[in-house]
Symmetry: C2
Subunit: 335 residues, 2 copies
Amino acid sequence: MSIREVAARAGVSPATVSRVFTQPRAVAAETRRRVMTAAEELQYAPHPAASSLARGRTGNLGIVVPDIANSFSATITKAVHRQARREGYALFVAGSDEFAEDEVSSARALAQQVDGLLLLSPRMSDEELTALGELAPVVVVNRRLDRIPAVLTNAQEATGHAVEHLHALGHRTAVYLAGPDNYADHVRSRGFRDACSRLGIATPELGRFEARYTAGVRAADLVLASGATAVVAYNDEIAAGVVNRLADRGIDVPGDISVIGFDDTGLAEMVTPRLTTVRIPATTAGTAAIEMLLDLVRGRGDEVHSPREVCGELVVRSSTGPAATTAVPARRSAP
Amino acid sequence: MSIREVAARAGVSPATVSRVFTQPRAVAAETRRRVMTAAEELQYAPHPAASSLARGRTGNLGIVVPDIANSFSATITKAVHRQARREGYALFVAGSDEFAEDEVSSARALAQQVDGLLLLSPRMSDEELTALGELAPVVVVNRRLDRIPAVLTNAQEATGHAVEHLHALGHRTAVYLAGPDNYADHVRSRGFRDACSRLGIATPELGRFEARYTAGVRAADLVLASGATAVVAYNDEIAAGVVNRLADRGIDVPGDISVIGFDDTGLAEMVTPRLTTVRIPATTAGTAAIEMLLDLVRGRGDEVHSPREVCGELVVRSSTGPAATTAVPARRSAP
DNA sequence: ATGAAAGCGCTAACAC
DNA sequence: GTGTTAGCGCTTTCAT
């Protein structure tokens, strides 16, 4: 009962008021002014639900992430929010806690009330993802699937650099700490194994670990037991846990063991020693994703773009160094 | 054009289909089954916008935080999201980047399309906040204002404990690194000054600093120049920056300078040395806030609850220790 | 440039 | 327990 009141007060029809708010230039300047004045006096603002219903679009976007409190997720969410807001969209956020079932139900629920949906490292099945794609325009980050537009963080090459870095430092046994079973982990794991086999580095693989600090703490002791002199962890949080736990056990990083993380979240610079890590440009990825999504939403969404890749980059800091000439301390007692 | 199709297929009226989805037990079991079957076959789901329009409520909640990527904000957001989802609400998230203007516009935009709005440490003016409160049910975290239901993190006492802790360790000059100009900072600053004056500790105050690691790095050198032997920082991120920068400058923490943070975010345990910090129960605060909001949304929102307080607690770790008997190294060159 | 009118898809009285 | 009916507030042809 509102656009009508404004209309009445301005002495025009509701249609005109509507036009003032949706296509201002279709209204005579003078009329527009009268309407605007009336609207302000009445503190009128268009009712979003009514507008959505009539127009068939909501002006909202949604993003589903594995973990709202995870630094990498949060960085992407922040970038996405910034762009969305700039383009006049509000943003729904949902977290799945790495639980495929919640991910699907959240995504489905959002799909109905957004113009486009962003999925970060989705774990749902291909079928479910495809089905979602029918419900609403969808862009995924870090997942490959035909017909679903994607932004992929390509850490293949950078992971190779990481391994070469370790090799050059004299390491001959390195362990990869696997994270959640997702695209990013696959790429990292594969890049790691490929490079290691190329360079003749032994590669026990440990995990999977949750992508969290506490999991890294736990992982550290397993690493130590493995006898490896170098660790590549799924992400910085795990790497941080490893580094700190090793310190607690009296192991020197990088003196005894070298550690490499992924993402280059803020954390990498905050732990001691500062982490050598493969930087993933999260903000770039988020921005790219939202741009693809908006293209899809606004343009004719017919043309399925090929995946957009953003590349990782090895950042060498202080958690990597020459391999210890003797075995690591934990095994020093051996003959 | 959808509830009608389901109705047709099930051989009932649209109203019955609507009932099946909104008050299932008002429909005969057999009819309900027929409708459900038809709905599934047609992959029908109620249109949220239409439903919102007709019912006058959206099933959505919103939260506006200072910084989406900040660990404390994210933890609260996560708790809020969890509760909201559990209660069947979807959640809008907006970040203001500590910018009052964006905060207001985001909040206003959301207010129209949610059933309730949560504001975390809002910086907008009292007037704007009050106005928002007229637009939609609003609960604030860390802001005091008449007639606006609030959750307050009370760190007054715990801050006192922090200062007593420092005093007991022999510190006689402590500096507070102020953060953003918000409720939490006021409480912390005031608690700090009160306790210091009670105990006869000199209290230069530095800042304000942004609530970020890099600001802490910058702050460290100012701290050093101040000659204080102890630092209480607005939050853990600033404290972490201080600790790391001091280490870079060859200052031992806690040997030369003691550092205390606030929040006990994950970061506190990740830096070296682990931070003594005033734990703020973010998850508790978030959960409490959403519960107040839902009470407001569902109950008769008339009764303005008095603010709910959640209390801080000093967690002593390794970044605090006995005051150096000599002045800090930076001043050691003095006679 | 503006108005009249017909919905968008769903819900909520109110009858039966 | 179910159907009929009248909107929710806005947008958008189609006239004028």
